[in-house]
Amino acid sequence: MSAIIRTENLTYTYSPDTPFEKTAVNDVCLEVEDGELVGIIGHTGSGKSTLIQHLNGLIRPTSGRVIIDGQDIWEKGVNLRDIRFKVGIVFQYPEYQIFEETVFKDIAYGPKNMGLDEKQVGERVRETAALIGLDSALLEKSPFELSGGQKRRVAIAGVMAMRPKVLILDEPTAGLDPGGREQVLEEIREYHRRSGSTVLLVSHSMEDVARFATKILVMNHGSVFCYDTPPNVFMRADEIAEMGLSVPQITRVFSLLRKKGIDIRGDVYTVDFALKTINEYIASKGSAREDGHD
């Protein structure tokens, strides 16, 4: 597989030469393979949001390179608009970007900008709306009449409908109730499964990310702390917790058990897997005891 996103020594400094100068992204080298679902975590101010805005050319790096699909996006002659159709970003609280009279028109804004004809636009809007769980009756309503969760879906659909090769979502579940969070995450997962595109999911919550992601990127103070598969990342759960990030509760339980001297694996991050691990452990203990008795 080839890397769809690659950054080389990416550095970005806000307000250079003023007392507010701040390096938000520091020397980030990253390679994301095609088709991955990457969870990006890091606490507020760790540079997650700044990093993702580099990936579609909204921010020009202070130094370093951004390579999308084998193409350096800041090379001469590259049309950034094409890059933006290739790398779709859904920002935090995306419902604040809604502006059209009807839900249909708002979702169609991106595809229309791509220069698709009416028929293709219509198809894409309907298809995406169905995927994200928007009833077709809603399409002719004003987006401003919808509930918060539905508005959020409209905004996400607006980017999904462009069918980008890479879809980046910045905290797509922020401010939703638990039911809504679960649904939106499930829909994103469904989108990833069906389209086979690369998805980057920025989140505060390890728990959300851990269940879905094929890989996890942990950011700390503008640098990459680690980028690996979830089991390998959660092996370092203690370090991650020290950075002030919440690790899944079940991982915490297991790390406490290990501290008590129980020899149990540390890469547990889902309840199902925890159950399996405990059963295995008990089984192995049981057989060990039997061995001892004999």
């Binding site: 579609n56 909204l58 608009r81 933006r84 779709g88 920002f91 604040y96 502006f99 804004y109 462009m162």
Partner: protein, 276 residues
């Protein structure tokens, strides 16, 4: 990006200038502007420049900031300078293709450019070292006598405070919405005038919607805290002036007197010249 604008920005600090009473700072800035406009000679302007450099030095802010605040107005300065260059009578010094530039034109142009630059820099010292909220407090305090003629001073200053408070928020919001629409393929800086105007709709509508939302929230929050206008309202931080404020103001007035004396000196020298 719009975020990089420094004009009117406040840089927190704890220098002598930062600590001055904002009312006196406004007064001193006014005196400085008087200096600039009463100065007739380069010497007078030089005195004002020295006054500015010393007061800026006292703020403890890097000089680089100044160059950044001047940068955006360079085109205006050059344009006005350019016009002056050709339309002032005097002794011709340069003649190219029938265009005559006189010595007087050169002198006036240089004089005016220095004056504009000093004007921008001088007022920047005020805004760089005074937070907008304190500044409106000072304006309210200076305008208080107008209450006697039923001028709504408190309401005016509250409106200014709110407006100033929300400028950075709205800039940030605009930035975010622009990014979001650009990510959906909006073209903001190319195309014909009509296309560009149309491209603004996806930015203006969300901005309006969120401004109304914010206004509503703010009104509710003020109501919840029983806000009822200026009558009998006290301040958490009251402005107070001390000896150093009076000294600073006196020094600036003295410098202004100096500039005026230099002007008079010039007049008498000229006078002497003509009589000889």
């Amino acid at each position: 990006m719009i975020k990089d604008i420094t004009i009117g920005q406040y840089f927190p600090g704890n220098s002598f200038v930062h600590r001055l009473d904002p009312r006196f700072k406004i007064g001193i800035t006014a005196v400085f502007i008087c200096m600039l406009f009463s100065a007739d000679t380069f010497a007078g302007l030089g005195v004002a420049a020295v006054f500015f450099i010393i007061s800026y030095g006292l703020t403890g802010l890097p000089y680089k900031l100044m160059t950044r605040s001047i940068k955006p107005i360079i085109p205006i300065i050059i344009f006005t300078g350019f016009i002056n260059l050709f339309f002032i009578d005097g002794v011709p010094v340069i003649k190219i293709f029938g265009i005559i530039i006189t010595d007087e034109a050169l002198r006036v142009t240089a004089f005016m450019m220095i004056r504009i630059i000093l004007l921008i820099c001088g007022s920047s010292v005020l805004t760089y070292t005074t937070s907008p909220i304190v500044l409106t407090d000072a304006i309210e305090s200076i305008l208080r006598p107008l209450n006697k003629v039923h001028f709504p001073v408190h309401e005016l200053s509250m409106m200014m405070t709110i407006a100033l408070r929300f400028i950075p928020t709205l800039i940030e919001e605009t930035d975010k919405i622009m990014s979001a629409q650009k990510a959906r393929g909006a073209e903001l800086d190319s195309g014909s005038f009509m296309n560009r105007a149309k491209a603004l709709i996806p930015i203006l509508i969300p901005l309006f919607v969120s401004s109304f939302r914010r206004a509503e929230e703010l009104a509710l929050a003020m109501e919840c805290r029983c806000y009822r206008g200026g009558e009998g309202r006290t301040k958490l931080k009251t402005l107070s002036s001390g000896l150093s404020d009076y000294i600073a103001l006196s020094v600036s007035i003295l410098v202004l007197c100096g500039v005026i004396i230099i002007n008079m000196g010039k007049v008498s020298i000229l006078h002497a010249y003509t009589t000889i």
